[in-house]
C-alpha cells in the first residue's frame, strides 16, 4: 500500500513539474476567428473601401494571430480584393489603413489608448468583455465550446459599414443604449 502511495505521489509531483503550452487548441481558435472575420468582411459593405490601398487590409497587433490568419486566408479575396494580413502597433499611424482591425484580449489596455479618429472606416473586432462598450463593433465570445459573436450594427453604421442580415441573424445584436 505504501508503495502505491509513493508511486501515486511521484506521478503527481512529476505532473506538476511538467508545464507545456497548448498551442494546438489556441491555433484552432485563432484560425476559426480569422475565418469568421473573412465572413464579416465578405458580408459587409464599406462605403469607402475602394479608396485606400487596392487590397483588403486585415490588421492585428498579435503576431501569432497574424501568422495563423495569413495561413487561413491565403489566396482568399474580399469584394474582388486580395487580403493582406498585417502586423500593426496600436499606437502607430499605420492603423489608419486597416479595413479590419482585430484586437485580442491581451491588447485591451493598449486599445483604450488608441486614437479612434484613425479608425473612422475600420471594422473593429475584439474579444474582451467590454470591447463593444469601448468603441468596438464586433466581439467574439465562447459559448458551449463554440465561437459566437455579438455585433453593434449602429456602431458599424457610424463607420459607414453595413453588415448583411445573413451575419446579423447569427449574432447577438448589441443595441446602442447597452
Amino acid at each position: 500500500m505504501l508503495a502505491i502511495k509513493r508511486f501515486v505521489t511521484s506521478l503527481i509531483m512529476l505532473a506538476l513539474a511538467v508545464a507545456a503550452g497548448e498551442t494546438g487548441a489556441a491555433d484552432k481558435e485563432a484560425a476559426l476567428k480569422a475565418g469568421f472575420m473573412f465572413n464579416f468582411a465578405r458580408y459587409s459593405e464599406w462605403q469607402g473601401l475602394a479608396k485606400p490601398l487596392g487590397y483588403f487590409k486585415l490588421c492585428s497587433p498579435d503576431i501569432e494571430f497574424v501568422d495563423t490568419a495569413s495561413w487561413v486566408l491565403h489566396k482568399q479575396r474580399i469584394h474582388e480584393l486580395e487580403i493582406r494580413v498585417s502586423l500593426v502597433e496600436l499606437d502607430s499611424l499605420s492603423i489608419n489603413q486597416c479595413n479590419l482591425l482585430f484586437v485580442p484580449t491581451a491588447y485591451r489596455k493598449n486599445w483604450l489608448t488608441v486614437d479612434r479618429t484613425l479608425l473612422s472606416h475600420t471594422m473593429l473586432v475584439g474579444e474582451a468583455p467590454d470591447f463593444i462598450h469601448q468603441g468596438g463593433h464586433i466581439r467574439f465570445f465562447l459559448l458551449a465550446g463554440k465561437i459566437r459573436f455579438e455585433v453593434a450594427p449602429e456602431e458599424l453604421k457610424k463607420a459607414d459599414i453595413t453588415m448583411s442580415s445573413k451575419v446579423l441573424r447569427l449574432s447577438r445584436v448589441v443595441k446602442e443604449e447597452q
Binding site: L11, I12, L14, A15, L16, V18, A19, A20, G21, E22, G24, A25, A26, D27, K28, E29, A31, L32, G35, F36, F38, N39, Y43, W71, V72, Q76, P129, F141, L142, L143, A144, G145, K146, I147, R148, K166, V167, R169, L170, R172, V174, K175, Q178
Partner: protein, 683 residues
Amino acid sequence: MKYSAGVSWLLCMTSFSVASAEPMPNLDLESLMATDVQATSAMKRAQSAFSTAASLYVLGKEDIHASGAISVAEALKLVPGLEVRQLDNNQWAITARGVAGRYTSKLLVMVDGQSVYNPSFAGVYWETLDVPLYDIERIEVIRGQGGLLWGSNATNGVINIITKNSLDTRETLLKVSSGDQLNYDIGLRHGGNIGSNGSYRIFGSVRDSDAAKTGKSLPANDDAKQQSIGARFDFAPNDDLSILTQFSYTHTDMGQNLKALSLATNQNTLYADRFERDDGRIMARAEHRLSGSSNQMLQASWAIQDGKQLYLDERFQSVDVDYQMNSLWGATQLDWGLNYRNSYLPFEENYIIRSDADIDRLEQYGAFLQLQFALIPEQLNVSFGNKSEHNSFTGWEHQPVARITWQPNNEHVLWSAISQGVRIPSLAEFDYDTGINGTRVGEYFQTGIDAIDNYHVHTVLNGNQQVEPEKSLSYELGYRFSKQDWSFDLALFHTQSKDVFAVQPNPDSANLDQIAALLAQGKIVEAQQALQNTVLEFDVASNADLNVKGGEALVAWRPSVNFRAELGYSQMSYRYRLKENTQPAIGYDSDSKQFFAKTGWHPFKKHSFFALFRSINSDAYSVDDYDALDLSWAWQLMPHSSLSLTGKNLLAGSHLEYDNTSETFTVPNYIEQSVVLRLMAEF
C-alpha cells in the same frame, strides 16, 4: 488559451469522423458556426478527440439530418460498431461491445448529461426518448468503459446526446414527414432572444404511425402515437458564467405484442397489448469559469418515467445532482467531481412480479478524481483516476482507470487504457420475484400420463439480495492516423467480467421427489394437487465469468466539402464461463461481425444524396444475417427549406433483427422496407 464555459462534456468534431488533427478550417460561415474550439468528452473536459485515449465516435448533426432518421434510436444506426437491433417499429435493443437486450444493455444513455437509464430493469426505454433530431448538435458515443467519469452501469459504453444551444436555434422551424408506415410526424420549434444575454426555444411534436404489415407470432401491432413538448433556455450573463435550463415531456401510446404468464396454464402466452408511458425531464446546469485555468459545473435534474401495460404499472422518478471542477496547470489537468442520485421506484405486486423486500428507493453517491499530465511534453500523455460510488444495494464500488497516449506527431496517435467498470444489479435482479414460463413436468420425469407430463409448474425467477455487482476489467489498444482529407481509427479491446448475472435452479424449491413418490404409489390425484401447489424457483446468481474481445476499424475520407465516406468493420466474440447447472441471462456465446459503409454526396448545388449500408453477421440474436441499405435524396428548395425522400431497409426487405425469446415480455416483429418523405423549413 481560453476554455469554453462548458469545460465539459462538450465534445466536438464538426461532423463526420472522430479522427481529425487540425486541418484548414472550412471558411463557410455555417461550418465555422458548427465547429468546436476543442473536442472531447471521454475525458469529461475539453480535449482533442483525436488524441483521446478512448474509443470515441461523434455522430454529427449533418449525418443525422441527411439520413432521414426519425428517432434517436434509428440515428444510432449511423454509428459504426454499435449494436443496434430493432425489435419492432418502436422498440430497440442497443449496446456496444456486447449483446444488446431489450431490458439489459449495460449502456449508459444521457441527454445533455442527464441520465435516462432506468435502474428498475437496467436499460433504456428508447421508444419514449423523443429528442427533436433537428435540435441535436451531436451524439457522442464512447464504446467501452465510461465508468470513471459517468458512474456505474457504463460497462459497455456511454451515449451522450448533446442538443444545440438555444442561441443557435433562434428561428422558427417546421418539419413534416410522412410515409407508407408513418402517417405523419410533425415537429415545430420556435426560438428567440431573452434580453441581451439569453435565448430560448420551445418545441412540440406529434407522430402517428401504422403497424407493420407482417407479424411474426401474432399480427403486427406496433402502431404508435406520440406527443412531445419541451423548452430550453440559455443565459450567459457574462463570459464566465452560462446557465442552461430545459424540460421536456413526452406521452407515448404504442401497440406491442408481448408474452406474459397465463394464470390458467403457467405458460407464456402471447398478447396483443398497448402501453402508455409518460416521460418527463427537467434539468438545470451552471458552468462557471473561475479563471483561465479553472472551471466548475453544477447540474441538477429530475426525471419521471411512468408507464402502464399488461401486468405492469410502472412508476419511476430520479433526482440527480452533479458537481465537477476542472483545473489546469500548464499541461497538467486535474478533474474531480461529486454526484448524488436518488431513484424512487414504488412497487405494486401483481401476478407476474412480487417483491421480497418492498424496496422502493435506490440511493447512489460518490466522487471521481482524474489526473492527466505529460510524461514527455506534447508526445506522451498519461491519465489515471478513480470513481468510488456507494449504492444502497451493494455498498461501495470502485472504478479505476489508467490511460496513455503517444502522439509522435500531428498525424499519428497510439493509445491504450486499462479500466474497471461496475454494473450494479437492477431492482429486478436484486429484489423482484418474476413469474417466467412454466417448467414442463415431462422435462424432469415421464409418467406416461399426459395430464401430468404436460403440466407446467409455476416457475419463478427470484431476485437475490446477495448478488454481487458485475465487475469488468477492460484492456484497450487504439491507433489513429489523420491526414488532411482522410483518417483511420482502430480500437482493439478485451473485457473480462466476473460476478456476471446468471440464472440457476433452486433445487430445494420444488418437492418434485415427493410428487414422484406419490405417482409411484399410484396416487395420481394427490400428485396433481401437489403439482398445482408447487412453485419451481430459479435464482438470480452472480457467479458467471464473461469474456468479450474484438475490435473496430474505421476509415473516413473527405476529399472535398461535397463528398464524404466512411468504411467500418467491427468484430466481437462473446464467451461465458458458467458454473455447473447455470445458464446465461444476457445473450449467450456468440460471434458478431459488422461491415459498415456510409457516404454523403453533394453533386449539385441543390441536391444531395446519402447512403448507409450495413452488413450484419451475428449468431447472437437467433436471426439470419442481413444486409440493410438506406438511401436518401434531399432537394434544397429554398435557402432554408428542403424536401427529402428516404428509403429504408432497401436490401434487407422484411426481416427479423432480434429473436432472443428468453426475455420476459419481449416479442419481436418483422422490420420492413419503408419510405419517408420529409419537408423541412426554417423561417
